[in-house]
Amino acid sequence: MRKYSVFALAREAMRGHKGWDEQWSSPEPRAEYDVIIVGAGGHGLATAYYLAKEHGITNVAVLEKGWLGGGNTGRNTTIIRSNYLYDESAGIYDHAVKLWDGLSQDLNYNVMYSARGVMMLAHNVHDVQVLKRHIHANRLNGIDNEWLSPEQAKEFCPPLNISKDARYPVVGASLQRRGGTARHDAVAWGYARAASARGVDIIQNCEVTGIKRAPNGAVMGVETSRGFIGAKKVGVVAAGHTSVLMDMAGVRMPLESYPLQALVSEPVKPVVPCVVMSNTVHAYISQSDKGELVIGAGTDQYISYSQTGGLHILNHTLDAICEMFPIFTRMKMLRSWGGIVDVTPDRSPILAKTPVQGLYVNCGWGTGGFKATPGSGNVFAHTIARDEPHPINAPFTIERFRTGRLIDEAAAAAVAH
């Protein structure tokens, strides 16, 4: 891998940019690997990267049915934060935030992590209580999160409407300054390039259609649209399609897949300096470096694999955005799209071994897993390499739905992202 640097840029500028290498190679699949990762989203690619970097396992293939990063990774609104309520969540999400800081250097790829602050609005007494409870819990876990008055919120985000007669009055906000955004595609590309450079095979247009098991039940490999590929360890990292893949191995999952939508406006000059979220009215907004307002909506109410959602969902979100930011009422929206998110009953992920020997699963990130990409890949690689979880992901088992040891972020906050 040729290192990216200002000198490389200057050199290529001199010779018409003809010397850039492919960012990752696209080899034919081998007959067998030590580890197969199903799904080349951010989490799958990060897993492969850390398997190679931290565990010395480089005979790894990442199989992707479409194109790399074309799933939820390339469809999300890129909000990064770690101010979750429970200790287990604080552990895994903050592990990720610590890795985000320094990821561009580690990968030699600009993932554009921007700690511009994530502000969560309170519109009523209940919101105030919930957000303050989070702030206190976060502080005990060493995670920054602070309370802002409406005036302080407006100072931090000037276009916000804090007038008392607003339809959704702002009565306060919480702010995590280390929260922010990153460039979604760059995260997938950066991990793919760095993993490929360490010997990982990234194989696109290769759909896994079956998981083959030996007579003793252990995993032997996967059937794919490009033939059988052997491996004694298979990690499923397929977001909305996890139930479909795990069914192939006879494992039924506590998951439901829903459409989740987002949209972007025409590009304008910098106007939203941070991320603003309102869980109560279901709207999230930030501004990309290109200038587009990036707006996230809620999920549809029914299970679907259609990668589209209802227009009334977007409508509802834009209603809320226009109430909170009257300045945007005349903005034009350019594009909207949907992804399929895999939701667990307690809204916390599953990163674990499964009842099938050699089969591992990383799923259930639902509407909010982009922020966890580096941390998730890091501890999942550990789980696969050592055949036992890292202490950080040890609580995120499948069995918790039998034992009752839920990590109930759903009840804690009803938070989306």
Binding site: H241, E256, S257, I303, S304, S306, F401, R402
Partner: protein, 129 residues
């Protein structure tokens, strides 16, 4: 937005009138305290989440307020049929022959919705809740 046919009102109405209520045909044990942890997990948390035909519950919350069941394709989001709560799970192999997915998609609204107001119609059969 989905268009959903309520089998009680016998009308196709916009999704906004309905609330999805999860997977259908999951029976609650008569003595829930007696079931094993494994069975409770299956009943309460494990879901089919199929890519393809799903059997699901809906509630016509802003209409007649009753629960009913539906067969839908989760790839196209088209309904194959809806049926009253308590009716047996339809045999999908037969359904496909009769109606195909989207039995009443793309049909003009005047052919879908009954014109007589609900009150003048024959009462819904008893014992179907």
């Amino acid at each position: 937005m989905l268009l959903i046919r309520c089998p009680y009102c016998e009308e196709e109405r916009p999704e906004l009138e309905f609330r999805n209520a999860g997977e259908a045909h999951i029976a609650r044990a008569a003595d829930i305290a007696a079931v094993s942890d494994e069975d409770f997990e299956k009943f309460f948390f494990i879901r089919s989440n199929p890519k393809g035909i799903i059997y699901e519950r809906w509630r016509h919350i802003h209409g007649c307020a009753r629960f009913f069941n539906a067969v839908r394709d989760t790839v196209t989001d088209k309904f194959v049929m809806t049926y009253k709560a308590g009716e047996p799970k339809p045999d999908i192999s037969k359904l496909k022959k009769e109606s195909g997915p989207a039995a009443y998609a793309n049909r003009p609204p005047d052919q879908l919705n009954v014109k007589k107001p609900a009150a003048k119609r024959a009462p819904a059969s008893k014992g179907d809740a």
